[in-house]
């Protein structure tokens, strides 16, 4: 009953989404105020019915209704309750339903909060959103329906892939989807602007908060996925340049570029064409990510060809939106007026340079991810493009970008004084060089991590310099600096934190890459090995029973200077029901550094294959991501201030447009 009702709710959501697309786009075309009043209501309706459908699927999972094929294949009655909830999106069909739910939520939010948008812009935006929702819900209904029943209900389900039974991976997809789908908002705004053939600074002011929110979720989603891989996969790697990871990285890079170019557009009314193009590309890349992950094309071109229904459908969606929007762009681009003039040395030019490098990085990831697929389908030749390629290409580009980053916020708009900025940054540069030389003298260092570390420290010092400059630290009395700090706009505080986060992440990456210590040894009970300052003594094997798994753990005593400071229990976790196992690392944090233990196979003589890592400053990698996201959140909290501004700007603009 619930399955059928949920199915019906989804079908209703589809119908409403179609209505939303038709009413709004037609209404905007005809400039019919009555029609244009409909979309906020339908957007809310789509949300209600999609949410009902999603709640229905959740209910089926929680009650373990194995008569539903999707629940049977991905759940088990003995699964912990938490994973009955998160298991809803731990499979293809459910995750597409989550995708649609997030999209509906974004559309409803636009409908609710966009009261001050010009009605035609709002109608066009919601029209495009409705179109996206309709097509994706149709995709679910026709190829990925999670509500199909089995002829005979089995007594027990097949269980969820153990790798997914982890809180990190349970929260990773929703965050990433909030980011992926959030890109649709900027896309819809861009298409709406192209449909109207008009775009202005107010447009950028509406788009920026949405892009900021999108970027925030993408940043957190990627950071969380990376940390999950680090502690779950058992050898301490955190980024593998896997095509699936690249699929999430590309929209993030494009959204980063979009944030910066929209800033120029908002403040200076320049770079309009480029900003619109970026908005289109960002969502195109997130659709591409969905295609790559969901079609199976990544495993092999051949698996894609053998079961093409889903893949072909998503490919068609991809071609429709990417091709359609780019064609519209080509048609209308000449109508967008170029505004704002600036000199080659200015904040605008710096942001352009940022966009140039981000584009180059994004293009490299794009080509690197798709090249093997293209080559194989054209020549039949199979090659691999893996981590060494990306490290050799993306690495240097990213380092140059981060090295230039501190200068950006210090440059004035329109025309800036390069020498003055260099002078301001001299202290930061000297400090980072001094610290780097100190590290080199005490620890020695490989070249590449050394360069990365220096640039990372420079980025942090540069961000602090910029903050100090803004509050006139040491140049004015402290009381004044304090009041300046309090009066600093949230958006510049956001910039400070975001840039600080980039520097922190880079320091973490450099430290992990250059100064990690690794020890692999076979250890018998009672024996010890030494890593960094620590003595690790293998005490004994132990077994622990979990709710639906069994851990076989090696109890390791941890000593520093002969004093026992704790025990770690790296384990193999066996999920008997599915005959699968995962590895559970034993991790102990010291400040920002971590001691990381994982174990291999137990051997016949009861010894353990122990892999121990000392990873200095490794936590900075993800902490930097959190700080970046914090920056976005702070900048977003500025939004209330912003929302008042476009209102008047919009009215003025609206009045200036001649009646048609």
């Amino acid at each position: 009953m619930i399955a059928e009702l949920s199915h019906a709710a989804l079908a209703l959501a589809f119908a409403l989404a179609v209505a939303q697309a038709v009413f709004s786009l037609w209404g905007a075309w005809q400039n019919d105020a009555r029609l244009m009043a409909v979309p906020p209501l339908t957007a809310f309706g789509v949300l209600v019915f999609t949410a009902a459908s999603f709640a229905g699927l959740t209910y089926l999972y929680v009650t373990s209704d194995f008569s539903v094929a999707n629940v049977y294949s991905n759940s088990h009655s003995a699964k912990p309750l938490l994973y009955k909830f998160t298991g809803v999106w731990g499979n293809h069909d459910g995750s597409m339903l989550l995708w649609a739910l997030v999209l509906a939520a974004f559309s409803a939010l636009i409908g609710a909060f966009a009261g001050n948008l010009p009605p035609r812009l709002r109608a066009n935006v919601l029209g495009v959103q409705g179109l996206i929702a309709a097509i994706f819900i149709l995709f679910i209904l026709s190829t990925s329906n999670p509500f199909l029943r089995l002829e005979i209900a089995p007594a027990q389900g097949q269980g969820l892939n153990p790798v997914l039974q982890d809180i990190g991976l349970a929260l990773h997809p929703p965050l990433l989807y909030l980011g992926y789908v959030g890109c649709s908002v900027a896309f819809s705004f861009a298409v709406a602007a192209l449909l109207e053939g008009r775009i202005d600074a107010a447009w950028a002011r509406w788009v920026r908060p949405w892009t900021l929110a999108t970027w925030l979720f993408l940043t957190l989603g990627i950071a969380m996925g990376s940390y999950w891989a680090y502690y779950e996969l058992g050898w301490g790697g955190y980024w593998f340049w896997d095509p699936v990871e690249n699929a999430s990285l590309m929209p993030w890079i494009a959204a980063t570029a979009l944030l910066h170019s929209a800033l120029v557009m908002e403040k200076r009314d320049a770079l309009k064409i480029w900003t619109v193009l970026l908005a289109l590309l960002t969502f195109s890349l997130s659709l591409l990510g969905t295609f790559l992950v969901r079609s199976g094309v990544l495993t092999s071109v051949h698996t894609f060809a053998s079961d093409p229904t889903r893949g072909v459908f998503i490919l068609a969606i991809l071609i429709f939106f990417v091709g359609g929007s780019l064609a519209l762009f080509a048609l209308r681009v000449s109508e967008l007026k170029v505004g704002g003039i600036f000199a080659p040395v200015s904040r605008e030019a710096a942001l352009l340079l940022n966009n140039l490098f981000l584009s180059a990085i994004c293009a490299t990831v794009f080509v690197g991810t798709l090249y093997p697929l293209m080559l194989e389908s054209v020549t039949g030749e199979k090659i691999s493009v893996g981590a060494p390629f990306f490290n050799a290409t993306v690495g240097p580009l990213a380092l140059v970008l981060v090295a230039l980053m501190p200068a950006g916020p210090l440059l004035a708009w329109k025309r800036a004084d390069a020498a003055g900025v260099a002078q301001k940054l001299a202290l930061a540069a000297a400090a980072s060089l001094a610290i780097a030389i100190g590290v080199f003298a005490t620890n020695g260092a490989p070249l590449y991590p050394m360069i990365a570390l220096t640039i990372g420290i420079f980025a942090v010092a540069g961000a602090l310099t910029e903050y100090a400059t803004r509050i006139a630290l040491f140049r004015a009395p402290f009381a004044e600096s304090f009041s300046r700090a309090r009066g600093l706009p949230r958006s510049s505080l956001g910039t400070f934190f975001a840039h600080l986060g980039v520097g922190l992440s880079l320091i973490g990456i450099a430290a992990e890459g250059g100064w990690s210590v690794e020890k692999i040894a076979s250890v018998k009970p009672g024996e010890s090995i030494r890593i960094a300052d620590f003595d690790l003594r293998f005490h004994e094997w132990a077994e622990r029973q979990g709710e639906n798994y069994r851990d076989i753990a090696a109890i390791i005593e941890l000593r520093r200077d002969g004093i026992l400071i704790g025990k770690l229990a790296p384990a193999k976790r066996i999920f008997v029901m599915r005959g699968q196992q995962t590895s559970e690392a034993g991790i102990r944090t010291f400040g920002l550094s971590q001691l990381y233990l994982s174990i291999g196979d137990p051997v016949a003589d009861r010894s353990v294959a122990l892999r121990a890592y000392w990873k200095p400053l490794v936590l900075l990698i993800w902490l930097g991501g959190v700080v970046m996201a914090l920056g976005a959140a702070i900048s977003l909290s500025d939004r209330r201030l912003r929302i008042g501004v476009p209102k008047s700007a919009a009215k003025k603009k609206l009045a200036a447009v001649p009646a048609e």
Binding site: A349, L352, T364, Y371, I383, V385, L397, S583, S598
Partner: protein, 147 residues
């Protein structure tokens, strides 16, 4: 204890994946081992999704790791080992693709984008500099008053 022994044997019996580099694979010669690790990071585990043989749990990866170390002990250079593996498994085994005609577009992609973008930027600025907006008469007058 008995149960534990049973569980241990269960792991072995199920042939569950073992972790990456195992203690028994590690070479005594530290310099040679370091070369082995660096090489392993560049070689793909062919039965895995996207892992180097250094990271992978698969039995095939272990075989390749041991093979690489045997060749190193026999005195092969890194290039010789790579060539040997390419002859055996094809280009697919290299995580860093060779630079040749067929991969030119791949390797040059970052440069192409940077150069093309840089050219666009240069044109953008030179065109603007060529045509500065002249001051209006009122602005000129005001300028005169100020100076």
């Amino acid at each position: 204890m008995k149960k534990l022994a049973l569980a241990l044997s269960l792991i072995v019996a199920l042939m569950l994946p073992v972790a990456a580099v195992q203690p028994d694979e590690v070479l005594a010669d530290a310099a040679l081992e370091a070369r082995a690790r660096a090489l392993s990071l560049q070689l793909r585990c062919m039965v895995c999704q996207n892992q180097s043989i250094d990271d992978s749990d698969a039995p095939l990866a272990r075989d390749l790791r041991i093979l690489v170390r045997e060749r190193l002990k026999a005195g092969d250079s890194d290039t010789q080992i790579r060539e040997f593996l390419v002859a055996r498994y094809g280009q697919f085994v290299l995580l860093e693709p060779e630079k040749n005609r067929r991969t030119a577009l791949l390797w040059l992609a970052p440069l192409i984008v940077l150069l093309a973008g840089g050219l666009v930027l240069l044109r953008f600025f030179s065109r603007r500099r060529a045509a500065p907006i002249p001051l209006t008469a009122a602005e000129k007058k005001r300028l005169k008053e100020l100076t």
